[in-house]
């Protein structure tokens, strides 16, 4: 089992997530792409933890899962708040702070 298999898979998922963040207008879809990015990082962490023979990679992956849960909770609360105020979650309409 080669290390590069996992690293390349993680890199591919990360790049698909980056494309999703850049190409989507709907805020919920952008949050979903961010979840994809976080998962790619988790694969990397566990793979490197295995290759170094330590437990750190596993523990950090667990922490990232917890942080992702917190992030998506607050993120969706923000999205719902934006929807309530503006009746739309299109990100390109949120240009209040544009100079």
């Amino acid at each position: 089992m080669l290390l590069t298999n996992f690293l390349l898979l993680a890199a591919l998922l990360f790049c698909i997530g980056v494309y999703g963040v850049l190409a989507r207008k709907n805020a919920v879809l952008v949050l979903m792409s961010i979840e994809l990015i976080l998962n790619a990082v988790n694969i990397n962490l566990v793979a490197f933890g295995v290759i170094t023979g330590t437990i750190s990679g596993h523990v950090f992956a667990l922490f990232i899962i917890a942080v992702a849960a917190a992030e998506v909770g607050v993120g969706l609360a923000l999205v719902i708040l934006i929807y309530r105020n503006r009746r739309s979650i299109n990100l390109d309409e949120l240009d209040l702070m544009k100079g």
């Binding site: 089992m1 080669l2 290390l3 590069t4 298999n5 996992f6 690293l7 898979l9 591919l12 998922l13 790049c15 698909i16 997530g17 494309y19 963040v21 850049l22 190409a23 989507r24 207008k25 709907n26 919920v28 879809l29 949050l31 979903m32 792409s33 979840e35 994809l36 998962n39 988790n42 694969i43 566990v46 793979a47 295995v50 290759i51 437990i55 750190s56 596993h58 523990v59 992956a61 667990l62 922490f63 899962i65 917890a66 942080v67 849960a69 917190a70 992030e71 998506v72 909770g73 607050v74 969706l76 609360a77 923000l78 999205v79 719902i80 708040l81 929807y83 979650i89 299109n90 390109d92």
Partner: protein
Amino acid sequence: MDVVWGDNVAQNIAFYVIAIPMVAAALKMVTTKNVVHAALYLVVVLVGVSAQFILLGAEFIAATQILVYVGAIVVLILFGVMLTRAKLGRDAEVNNDPTQRIAGALVAVILFAVMSYAIIDAFEGTELPEERYQPLQVVSDSIFSTYLVPFEATSVLLLAALIGAIVLARRD
């Protein structure tokens, strides 16, 4: 570049059997116009990631992945879709205009080219150890000794996120 295969044939086959649907579902997730379908494609990717964790010998993280992501986060996202009243059918208004999409695709392709070059340059031919199973006892011992402070900080973070989400989303 010729494909280099690992030593363990069964694990290689399992890897590709899991990886190919994952990548296909991820691509569908960022291109489909239906928000609910995107969430369901996300489930395929998350379950695939969990299976890759099992291949890496990290069974506890695989179980946590299923419980937290598929059990909680996807349900939260579906609630978000419901509460923001995105059209449940096809919705043309989910993508940016084509120039921005092309720029995004360009960024993603260049990023992948650079990263894959760096990965192959640094780690080509590195074999994972055959014995890589990490029992739950080792993980939990590590969490409750070396990583005790980050662990407690995580619980405070989750509490803060809980309160923050309630304060933001509740209707006064």
